[in-house]
Subunit: 144 residues, 3 copies
Amino acid sequence: MSMEQELGVLTVSTRGFGFIDVTNELNQWVQEAGLEAGLLTMLLQHTSASLVIQENADPDVLRDLADALQRLAPESHPYRHSAEGPDDMPAHIKAALTSPSLSVPVMGGRMALGTWQAVYVAEHRAMPHRRRVALHFSGTRSLA
Amino acid sequence: MSMEQELGVLTVSTRGFGFIDVTNELNQWVQEAGLEAGLLTMLLQHTSASLVIQENADPDVLRDLADALQRLAPESHPYRHSAEGPDDMPAHIKAALTSPSLSVPVMGGRMALGTWQAVYVAEHRAMPHRRRVALHFSGTRSLA
Amino acid sequence: MSMEQELGVLTVSTRGFGFIDVTNELNQWVQEAGLEAGLLTMLLQHTSASLVIQENADPDVLRDLADALQRLAPESHPYRHSAEGPDDMPAHIKAALTSPSLSVPVMGGRMALGTWQAVYVAEHRAMPHRRRVALHFSGTRSLA
């Protein structure tokens, strides 16, 4: 079967600080495009939010992770870049410590994640935002 | 030469806290599949371990890196998520600060790493685990 | 249109601590190779520098980010690995906390970055270095 590719965009509305599980939306995009096996790559097109793969079982993991990032990039620090509010520069730091891009193999029309893994858009700003995730798939399509 | 792809899994037995060099295993997988030039992407299918590219020369670099991650995610912190032991939530944080997915160009049947680079599975739990790394290659095969 | 790939290397001269914007050089490489739509993956082939996507508007963001990384990996700590100077082990830690590899979708012959995003080579050593970024593109070529 010959290799093909598909480009797309996923738009996600965040509710301020926190993690939005986009695993189902991503698998749905893969299925609706008729993709079967290959590689899905995501790029979050912003610098104060990021992509994180983390545990989908105990929601306390995400709360503790948010707290840990808060301690590593505290709002109380006297940042030079402060015009956009006290949460903005910490958000850039948290985004740099996690990642804007992720790649996940696709098998059988679904992302080949581990049992306990989900893909999250991590919103590091205090206020809700609309975040764009650019998508790229390369691989094979299903026969149907 | 037309583009092809190959999917696979590498299973790694860790010995608790520390870094397992999987560079040779990855290059072996590339060679056994007859892959020549392209892109190798790895996804560690767990949320308390991660993939790290670091120096392969002085082992003290890995010890200092492990200590640094320990300071950034100390076991002594009163985490909400504590039922799986004091090392578990720090392991999730360390995994989020490093990365579950990595992509490395392949040239001449080997990963195009820098001279001093190796690919490590970083085990962030205290006890040994079996860790799965999903593999995806896209590119060209060797003629043989 | 059938999928093709292109491999390359970008060499970047850094000036010691700081961020070098390589967005234009990367887009130029894409254009000169006649690439249209697909995925660009970069691997920085060193362990004391890294790749970072961050804001290209207010340069204070990069200064605050450098300071934050300095606080997370201070030179004053008594590292085991110290023979290469007090800035070397912190550089390895900063490289591990950010990332050596990044993937960005390409559309219309350019990286599909967000409005405020640029790709930087982050130099974590005090002295200037020549840094190599291995490049891989897979996708389609423009018709011209």
